[in-house]
């Protein structure tokens, strides 16, 4: 939930203006007047009203993401697909079910990565740091992340045992992000990535002094 405070002479006008400026549909907000202003008499005694606007950004993003994803797929020429949604607040997963899953995942999952990238940009997801809207195709992302997490655990063990940097297979941004997060929650190692473009390689770097780093376990 996001809260905004606005000041205006006419509450209805002020709220409408706010919604237009922020491109938010009215159905996702509610508001209350915290300080009643006054329109005054003959221009005297005019006082601004203070209005608190409550914006349900999660519901809004849920709706908008599904509509946008649907439009992209349809306009890209895909006809047979269904979008199955799963809510796990603050996460919202849009799983595309389709016989065209191979095309939509793409080589190295680059197409899925691109769909996520475009959806993020269209939703302007950076403005909602606590919410995650994830696109998946036939549960691909979940499967691969799980598989690579297991690989990462082995690599972490090796890194700690040998003190040497370990390399993971190349991954696209969306998968890499999850693996970075996963590995960085384990103490005694940190991650680095190298490469250019969508696909980069993660390196697992053991800490020189494990004890010092152990505190963020």
């Amino acid at each position: 939930m996001k809260y905004y405070e606005i000041e205006c002479y006419d509450v209805e006008e002020g709220v409408t203006k706010f919604l237009n400026e922020n491109k938010i549909p009215r159905e996702f907000i509610s508001f209350e007047i915290i300080e009643q202003g006054s329109k005054g008499i003959l221009g005297f005694g005019k006082k601004l009203s203070k209005v608190m606007i409550k914006f349900d950004e999660f519901e809004y993003l849920k709706r908008r993401s599904k509509v946008v994803l649907h439009d992209i797929l349809e306009k890209a020429g895909f006809e047979e697909f269904q979008i199955e949604t799963k809510e796990d607040k603050p996460r919202f997963i849009l799983n595309i079910l389709t016989p065209d899953s191979k095309i939509l995942v793409g080589k190295f999952a680059q197409t899925l990565n691109a769909i996520q990238e475009i959806l993020d940009r269209i939703l302007n997801i950076e403005s909602y740091p606590e919410i995650e809207i994830l696109v998946d195709v036939e549960g691909y992302r979940e499967r691969v992340t799980k598989h690579l997490s297991e690989k990462a655990i082995n690599a972490v063990e090796s890194a700690k045992r040998t003190g040497k940097v370990q390399k993971l297979p190349p991954m696209v941004t969306i998968i890499r992000k999850d693996i970075h997060k996963f590995v960085n929650e384990i103490s005694g190692v940190r991650t680095e990535s190298s490469g250019t473009g969508d696909i980069k390689t993660i390196f697992i770097v053991p800490d020189k002094n494990n004890k010092k780093r152990g505190e963020n376990a």
Binding site: V68, D71, A76, F78, N113, E117, R121, D198
Partner: protein, 76 residues
């Protein structure tokens, strides 16, 4: 193809009315020419060209589905 680019780009920019998409269809390849307002160019290209690359990748997938090669040209 044209519709896809138009939809994505118009959703990204501040001035959707300035978005112009032209489709030049060849036998095997379709060239899509995109023009946007100068101020919106950064939005379409993105950090290190990420957004432009993502649009091209989605177009590529759409091309696979339709059995066509698609090239996106962003014109200034």
């Amino acid at each position: 193809m044209k519709q896809l680019v138009e939809f994505i780009v118009k959703s990204l920019v501040d001035k959707p009315e300035k978005v112009q998409v032209d489709e030049v269809e060849g036998e095997k390849t379709t060239v899509i020419e995109l023009r946007v307002d100068q101020a919106d160019l950064g939005k379409v290209i993105g950090k290190q060209g990420r957004t432009a690359r993502a649009i091209r990748t989605i177009l590529g997938a759409s091309g696979v589905k339709r059995g066509k090669r698609v090239v996106l040209e962003i014109l200034e």
